[in-house]
Each structure stands twice: as C-alpha cells, then as structure tokens.
Amino acid sequence: MAEIRDPLMPVIGVITDVRIDTPDIKTFRVVTPDGKKAFDHRPGQCAMLSIPGVGEAMFSITSSPTNTEYMEFSIKKCGCVTEWLHQAEVGQQLTIRGPYGKPFPVDDVFAGNNLLFIAGGVGLAPLRSVINYCRHYRDRYGKIDIVYGSRSKDDLLDYQEIINEWATDAGVNVHLTIDREQEGWDGHVGFVPNYVKELGFTTDKIAVLCGPPIMIKFTLNGLYELGFDKTQIYTTLELRMKCGIGKCGRCNVGSKYVCKDGPVFRFDELDELPDEY
Amino acid sequence: MQKITRDLLVEKAVSLLENGTVDMVLGWKKGEFDYDITPAVFADADSLKDFVFDDFCGANFSKYLISNTKKTASKVLVFLKPCDTYSFNQLLTEHRFDREKVYAVGIPCDGMVDIHKIRAISGEGIAKIECGEKITVSTIYDETVNIEKADVLAERCVTCKSKKHVAYDELLGEDGEVLESARFDEVEKLESMTADERFEFWQGELSRCIRCNACRDVCPACTCEKCVFDNPASPVENKAAANSFEEKMFHIIRAFHVAGRCTDCGECSRVCPQHIPLHLLNRKFIKDIDNFYGEYQAGEEVGSRAPLVNYTTEDLEPGEAVEGR
C-alpha cells in the first residue's frame, strides 16, 4: 500500500513567511520541511491546504511557476481554515496537496497575444501567478494591461509589487482604482467595470477576469460593449471543494467538476454549464 | 357515520378553491403503485384528479404548513387526521406558521397501514392493494393474499393515543375520543431491563443508523432554521459517527431537544429506512414528564406551557425525579 500515494494524502508544508497585505488578506509562503517547493504547478492551478483538526480548503497558488523556491498563497479571512491560518506564525507546519485543476492556457492561446487582466479585491490572487509568469517570459506576449480595483487603497493586494515591479515593466500598463475617494490617493476612483469601459480597450487582446460575482457580471457586460467576444475572455471559478480530484461531487456543475475541469474557464464554455456557479 | 372517501375530500377541496376560501390544497398525490403517495400541493380543481385518500395516507402535513403558509396569497387547505392536529397545535404554540393562512379540515381516521408489514406477508411483487377492514393484495405472480387490516396497522396506529381532533376549522364526519392507549407498554419493557440490557438494546438499534436525517427532517418538532448537526460552525456537526459513542448522540440529543414538544406523532419511526424505533426515545420522555409533573400532552392546547419550560414551586427537585422513577 504504502508505495502508492493516495491523491487525498498531503505532504507536510511549513510557513516560512507571512506578509500582511490588507486588513483581511495575508500572503503565506510555504515550502516542505526540507526547504523545497512542495510540487510544480501551472499558472491558475490550486492546492489544498489543511490544518489537521481544523479542516482542509482549496486555495489558488498565487506565486508563479517560475518561482522554483517556494509557493505563495494570498488568503482572505472568511472561514474556519482561513481564520486559523491568519493567526499562524512563521514555522507553523500544515499539509499541502495538489496541484489541482486546469491552468490558464499561457503557452498556447495566450502566446503572442496582448493580454488584459482585470481583478477585484482578493481576485488578484489567482491572476498574480499568471501575470508574473507572463512577465517572466515577457517576449512571448504582446502588450499587457492590468486593471485592478478594491474597496480602498488599504485593500489593494500586492501593492508594493504592483507599484515597484509591474508598473515599471516595459509594455505593462497598470490601472489601479479604488471604490471611494481616500486621503493620500491620487489615482482613479470608481468601480472596476466602469473603469474598464472608460479605459476603452481595443479588442485585439485576451481578457482574464477574476473578482466577486457582481464585478464579473458588470465587467463582462462592459467588455461586450467594447466589442469583446466570449471566446476572448477567461475567468477562474470558486466553488466548495473537498477532494480536489473530481470525485466527492461537491463542485459538480453540469457535467463539469470545477476542481478538475476548471477552475479556469472561457466564457463560452461557461455558457454551456447550467447557471449555478 | 359519514364515510370519509377520496371523493368527499376532493369535493370539499374543489368547493373551497372555487369559493375562494383557499388558493391551494395540501394533499396526498397518487404514486406509481397503490401505496406510494407523495405529499403535494394542488392549486386547482383539475390537478385534484391525482388526489388520493386511503389507508396509506399517513404523512403528517402539519410541518408543510410552515413553508406553504408563506406561499399562499389567501389560505391553504389542509386535511388533518386526529394525531396531525396535535402537531398542528404544537407548531402554533411555537409560532411556526400563521394560523390565519390555514383552513384546516379535520378528518376521522381509523388507522393507517404499513406497507412493510404488508410486504412481509405478501412477498415482493405487489400489483394491487384493495383497502378495507380486509386488505386484498394481488401480486404480479398471480397470487392473492387477504390480510386483516389490524395485522398490518402502522406501529403508531396500533397504540393510537387519540381519535379526537384538537384543532380544525371544519370537521368532516364525527369526532372521536382520546383513547386509553397502551403506548407506554414498550417503554415499561425498556425500563424493566437492566442498564446493560438497555444499553445493548439501543446499541443494536442505533448502530443501524445511516444518518440520513429522515427522522429529523420529517419531525414536526424539528423546525430549527439551521440544525446544530448541519452547522459547520458548530463543534457537533457531523454526517457519520466517528465512533460508537457518537452513533447514539445524534438521536439522544434530538430526543432531548424535542422533549416536552414531541406530540408522539410517530413520523420518525415511520420514515426510518432502518426501522429503528426512534419514537421510543421520545415516549420515554413523555412518560417521565407525565410521572414527574402530571399528565401533559404536547399540542393538546395552543399556548400550553410544557412542564419543562414552566417552573412551579411544586416541581420535583432533580434528585427526587430520579428516585421517583
């Protein structure tokens, strides 16, 4: 028995860094106890983290596969596992298994194209992996636009990295926005969907969306108004998951399992699913 | 005495729908066979063609009033057997539905039958069942079996506690009396066991539980918006027993939770796919409450204070209660 690893059986991970990003989001750096990356992954894939006795939950891997040293997870406090993680300190061990799901098609569909990333709030977490992957292989892609918004300046995830690294890259345009006016903020104010329309993107690109459902809904409409087609827009879904391998039935929508057939979907693929995700 | 027939109930339902008293009817809908009725909402006279009423219509509709009174624009018609009326009153006591939105028609009942008991006699392959004092079952194997209704009465009807309706807007037929029931006999049998024997009895029964929750979900006393056993934020949430101790906890905690509110309608044991006599747990509580605080029947009166939630200076002290058994 012992020689065949069961897909439900995790490996031990250890938290080597905790970064406070926003009042309710922290980014955790995880390696195995011998200091290695637990496993390789592709941009957009997820992993199951667990604290024995507390529970197991699925998180998108926010670090890029090009980072060969560790994995990072940006986690918003919103349930028992995440609440426990938020009080965890460096050196805390946990369990990790994965990678799960279908990644973004970075090496075929995305290659040679202009890319438009649109994120709201913690929705940047799954996109950071693909953004950094594309930045790493900069010459494989065209122009990159990043629209990112959150409630306030304090709620912007990865702010330092965005300002110091993304915004200074050649051919990468970062467009930040916050919901309401705030002291010390001289950037754009307003909701993401409106900002996308204001920016008036041309349709010669592939768009990738991630954020709260309401943002997705209105941003999609905005993109359609600008002339984008469903086949040009990708997103990544989040549903309750337990096994991560398409067996426990929890994330089943239509004939698809979000953990296995997703979480990355193109919008025309989503149209074929019943409306319950 | 007026015989309560399916046609009589349909006639009543149609007239109440047509004169605008009600806009929906809670009733039993015909199934694939002669015994598998489904509780259903009938919205018009035409849909009542599938309405049935016979000896298989055991389902207690009182709990369905919680959801259906929220849907009706005027009133919902419900047919209540005597035992159902106790659940009806208990739910009103607990403010679970709006009485103004219900038109309750009481119907006499001479006991419902249990298909499992019938099948145990007839064998598999039931093609037709003709109800009456004598039940005639014909099978697809060209056999005909005659069964005395008394031999296949549902367990709860064997020890029926009351033929009297304690709530209705209108009564069809004649009302009956509260019965001298032998319903505590089985409890006494359990009480006369040694602790070890009793433990073994319940261990044997409850170890069959598959935690389908049917007993809880059908129970008119279990109307919490969110059951503690379903709430992931609760430390007792579970779907399977992690050990044999936990196995018993679900049912014992549930029995405690409905103590003083359980009317002994017997739905829990009726729906159990594993035939666990869950009603015995509740009956033990009812018997003890009767002994300790004087006879009390939950649901007999709307607004009555159950002894467990009604302190009086004459109440037994905890120690006395234990000795008093």
């Binding site: 006795g53 426990c248 239509g254 319950e276 | 039931i126 697809i140 779907k239 729906v271």
Partner: protein, 342 residues
C-alpha cells in the same frame, strides 16, 4: 457450470469462509436483509434487496483515511492504510453488480482512489439472479439482465440447486478452491430459469420506463424544466435516497480530534443536504429544488455525459421503497420523459 444442492448452502458458506471472510444477506431482527459476516448460525436470506447496498464493501459509510499528530508547530502525517484481506460477498443482485461499474468509473479513474481500489481488488463478488423481482424493480430500463448477473461468479437458484459459473480469474480461483463440494452440470436448469425470469421482467409494472429522453448533452433541455418545482415540492431534504442508493458516491472529508491526535476520515455525503455546497461566502444551490434537480440531473444527464452514456442508476428500487415521501427517480423520469415513458 457447477452446482450444489440448496440443502447444502451452509456447507458452501462454511467452505468459502474457510478460504476467506464471507458476507451473505441475512435477516436482522426487524426482518430486513443485511449483508452479514458469515459464521455458524447465520442464516441466508433470499429477500430481494438488502437495505444498504453492497457499495458499503468498497465505499463504506465512514472510513479513516489518515492520521496526524501535532505538537507545537509541527505536523506529522501517518499513513494508516493497510492491505485489505480477501473477502467474498455472496448474493449480490444483478443491479448491484452493475453499480460497481458506475462506482469504478469514479474511483478508479485517474487519479485512482487507493482506498477503494484496495477493497475492490480484494473483493470477490458472487452475484445471484433474481427469481422473484419486486414491483419496484426497473433494472431493465438500464439494460441490466436480471437473469444474467455479472460479477466474479454468477449464481442462479433453481429448484433444489444453486448453480455457479465463474466469470473472472478471481472467480475461477474461488470456485476451484471449493470445487470439492461442487458437482459439474450443464446449463439446462439455468436456461429454463432465465426464460422464466425474462417473462416476469416483461410483466413488471415499471418495465416500460425508458431512458430514451435522457443522457449526455441534455442539460439545456431539462435543467430549466418547470416540472422540477412540483417534483421537489415535498422533498424533506434528507439523505435517504442517497444513502440507500448503490451508485451515489458523494463524500465529505472531515477531521476528528481524538485527544491523542487527529483522524481524517471520509463519510458519505448527500447533494440533497443544504450545506453540501455551502462556502464561507455563499452557496450556489440555495433551494431544495436546486439540490433535488442536481441529484437527478447527475444520474440522468451529467454522469452519462462523462461516462459514455452509462447512467448512474441501476434500477434497484431502493429509493422507491425507502423515500419518506415516495418521490423517486421513476417519478422524475416519467414526469420529465413525457407521457409515453412507462
């Protein structure tokens, strides 16, 4: 083909249980048939269906997956898997045998569930043809032949004899291990029985229920059907149908703190339960109608779409017999499949 006198059934059971653990259907004190570990005194029950399906043998109600020890900030994982011993299950009905194929497609597809695979490899199935199907039976709807049960060894109970025919290597091995008490025979008696069963199957009240309207690619056609509202109207949201179903395989994974460590276990779960899809920040199936629809859409549309048209129902009839409100897949198929269905 081999046979043994039905008078000697206990001899057969003794002989098999000498080889390995044997489970046979036996009546409990409530008169329900349940798979019971055979030992002297356990009586075989010829009742058609066990209350719980034999899926328990491979996908039990509850099983421990692994253990953890935690101390300070450290976590230690303990692999508690052990090689299962060989076991034989006798008297598995043709519908239930087919259910293993439905489960295999889930658990043995990559990535393979090693817990399930372990038990599956060590289990030997002796099936049994149905001499007296019930009115609730509709295995024929799913192309299952009640007269020709599959499994490692097929068995038929004819007048006075139990006939055995091994189908697989595991079956051959078992039969040869007990060959001392078996006699070889031709298949005349079995053929006659099969003809009789086939005639009965045609007379069953649900014989005409068909899957014609269902299958992969029908999501759009059925998902928004107005009929779901009335079908699910009285559903209690309990898990009875799911738990007695031989093909339902949704599960939950939970941790149990024993005080000495943490056991991670798996248990059956039900898409009928209100919390099934609940996340920290929402639930994508809020009403019982949506949850009810999911169960039947999965069996009749989604599963076949992913598994070459195989339906995730074998017509065993357990849900027909056990649902507290007598709502079931037959009523769903008849309502959604049009007037002609059944």
């Amino acid at each position: 083909m081999y046979r043994i006198s039905t008078q000697s059934l206990n001899t057969l059971f003794e002989e098999i249980s000498r080889v390995c653990t044997l489970y046979i259907p036996s009546e409990n004190k409530k008169g329900d048939s349940v798979y019971t570990r055979y030992e002297a005194g356990v009586e075989y029950s010829n009742k058609l269906n066990t209350v719980r399906s034999p899926k328990d043998f491979f996908f039990p109600h509850m099983e421990n997956l692994m253990e953890f020890k935690t101390e300070g900030k450290t976590v230690q994982l303990i692999d508690i898997r052990e090689e299962t011993e060989d076991f034989v299950v006798f008297g598995v009905r043709p519908c239930d045998v087919k259910s293993f194929e439905v489960l295999d497609n889930v658990f043995l597809n990559e990535p393979v569930d090693t817990y399930y695979k372990n038990r599956r490899e060590h289990g030997v199935i002796i099936s049994l043809a149905c001499n007296r199907p019930a009115e609730t039976c509709f295995c024929g709807t799913f192309g299952i032949d009640a007269a020709k049960p599959e499994g490692d060894v097929s068995a038929w109970m004819t007048e006075g004899y139990l006939h055995l025919k091994p189908n697989t290597e595991k079956g051959e091995k078992l039969v040869s291990a007990i060959s001392g008490i078996l006699e070889e025979c031709d298949d005349t008696a079995v053929t006659a029985l099969q003809e009789n069963i086939n005639n009965i199957m045609k007379k069953l009240p649900l014989a005409n229920v068909t899957t014609e309207k269902f299958g992969g690619g029908k999501t759009e056609e059925f998902f928004n059907a107005p009929e779901w509202a009335a079908l699910s109207e009285s559903c209690l949201g309990c898990g009875t149908c799911t738990f007695v179903c031989p093909t339902c395989q949704c599960y939950d994974i939970k941790d149990f703190n024993t005080g000495k460590g943490v056991i991670r276990y798996r248990c059956w779960d039900s898409c009928m339960y209100s919390e099934f899809t609940k996340m920290a920040h929402g639930n994508n199936r809020l009403s019982q109608k949506e949850r009810f629809r999911q169960r039947f859409m999965h069996k009749l549309v989604y599963y076949p779409e992913n598994n070459n048209g195989l339906f995730s129902c074998v017509g065993c009839g357990r849900c027909l017999a056990k649902c507290p409100i007598s709502m079931n897949i037959v009523k769903v198929m008849k309502t959604l499949g049009g007037k002609d269905n059944g």
